[in-house]
């Protein structure tokens, strides 16, 4: 009995140091029902809500498809920007799965947009898509981190109550060609809805 206990003690003391020190882990994703505050602070979301809907909830409708915003209209620019003539915007949602992860692509004149990770939140027909994009323009010497928010209500093949918001989070922009961080612009479809073209 003494020998067994002693052997156990030696084994324990030897094994105690086996688990290595580290600073990495793999965390479980969870269902989003709001735009996380680390993506967009609460004050920013409250400010955006004056100009567009941010529909919350964990169970939005499936909104896969290509949508066209035509004509695109500026609703509000927090930096005072004014303009009227915008190119039509196309946006696409693909691979929306049960945890509301999807791929979001947008393009205007040329269909060369790159799909990026996006998340869909909402309740029933009302939805909000949010995504974070890192944009680099080496030719013009700037890079930026943008949050894009697209919201609306899907009824048949149309999205009504449509809103499209861009928020600047961070940028490297020596020539100051971009809006400053924490400023945003909100657009809508002048017709009041955007059409779903195809899945």
């Amino acid at each position: 009995m003494v020998v067994v206990v002693a052997a156990a003690a030696v084994a324990v003391l030897t094994m105690c140091g086996c688990l290595k020190e580290g600073d990495e882990s793999i965390l479980l994703p969870v269902r989003n029902s709001t735009i996380p505050y680390e993506v967009l602070p609460a004050e920013m979301q409250d400010s955006l809500r004056q100009w567009m809907d941010i529909n919350e909830g964990g169970y939005p409708a499936k909104i896969e498809g290509i949508y066209t915003v035509k004509p695109m209209e500026l609703v509000y620019a927090s930096d005072g920007y004014e303009w009227e003539d915008f190119h039509d915007l196309n946006w696409r949602i693909q691979e929306q799965n049960d945890r509301n992860f999807a791929t979001y692509t947008e393009w205007q004149t040329m269909a060369n947009g790159t799909g990026r990770e996006a998340h869909v939140i909402g309740d029933g027909k009302k939805f909000t898509v949010w995504t974070v994009e890192d944009v680099v323009n080496e030719a013009d010497g700037w890079s930026a981190e943008l949050v894009t928010i697209v919201s609306g209500k899907l009824i048949d093949q149309r999205v009504t109550e449509f809103g499209y918001g861009i928020v600047m989070r961070n940028k490297v922009d020596e020539d100051s060609v971009l809006i400053s961080p924490d400023f945003y612009r909100v657009f809508t479809d002048k017709d009041g809805f955007c059409i779903r073209r195809e899945d």
Binding site: M1, V4, V5, A7, A8, A11, V12, M15, C16, C18, L19, K20, E21, G22, D23, E24, S25, I26, L27, L28, P29, V30, R31, N32, P36, V39, E95, N97, D98, R99, F101, E117, H119, W130, T131, V132
Partner: protein
């Protein structure tokens, strides 16, 4: 002299019988088998996940001290593989932990008449040390990740209670006996196995996406163990009270 001869012969018969069927105070041996385990996650945000119980090997060395009235003590040093698999939509998460268990089992053996077969119950508080392991993670938005477990991703220690039942069957082997046994039971962990770093999120997240969050609630282990054991008795025999000489000579 004839009476003495009868007594000696009777005693010798009892010795053979005791060596084959009567337990001794002490026995020692090993167990091998399987542990089928999972985790209990207390936070509601993890309710979406489907749990797949994962089977891993288990083995131990033990000693058993028995008392004449059925109660026994069984200290044990065990290797138990723990694991879980969590799935949700495109997310596939698998964790394997290698653990060293130090157990102190309290047993109760039932002696059945006219049979060597002996069922028993066991309850064993355990102290568990994580030795290592790994996590694999797959999802649409993340390249498959495999990560060795470290102090950042699993708690070093746990306290568990194992409760189970089994049966023993001594088999005569020469002048001694080999005790075969089969045991099954449930083990429940009591300590939190998420780390403080996982709760705070202040660490490198290898699968970081826009919907990964710091760990919420508790993560505790549970599992079923089924093992087959082999043991050898040794030490003094647990001998029944011998009848008096007067009783031997009575008609």
């Amino acid at each position: 002299m004839m009476v003495a001869a009868v007594v000696v012969c009777h005693a010798q018969d009892e010795d053979v019988e005791a060596a084959e069927y009567e337990p001794r105070y002490l026995s020692a041996g090993f167990r091998v088998g399987s542990s089928v385990g999972d985790v209990r996650l207390s936070a509601e945000c993890y309710d979406e996940y489907d749990h797949v119980w994962a089977a891993r090997p288990a083995g131990s060395v033990w000693m058993h001290y028995r008392t004449p009235f059925g109660l026994g003590l069984r200290p044990e040093v065990a290797y138990i593989g723990r694991g879980t698999r969590l799935q949700w939509a495109d997310v596939d998460y698998t964790m394997t932990v290698h653990t060293l268990n130090i157990r102190l089992g309290i047993t109760w053996n039932f002696k059945l008449k006219n049979t060597k077969f002996s069922p028993y119950l066991i309850a064993a508080p355990s102290w568990l040390i994580a030795l290592g392991g790994k996590v694999t993670y797959k999802a649409l938005d993340v390249e498959e990740v495999e990560m060795p477990l470290t102090t950042a991703s699993v708690a070093k220690q746990d306290v568990r209670l194992f409760a189970g039942a089994g049966f023993e069957m001594p088999i005569a082997a020469g002048n001694t006996a080999v005790i075969l046994s089969l045991e099954a039971g449930y083990a429940m962990g009591f300590l939190e196995t998420f780390t403080a770093l996982e709760h705070s999120g202040e660490l490198t997240v290898l699968n970081r996406t826009l919907d990964t969050r710091p760990a919420a609630g508790d993560r505790k282990w549970q599992g079923i163990e089924v093992t087959f054991g082999v043991g050898m008795p040794f030490g003094p025999k647990i001998v029944k009270k011998r009848p008096s000489l007067k009783k031997i000579l009575e008609n």
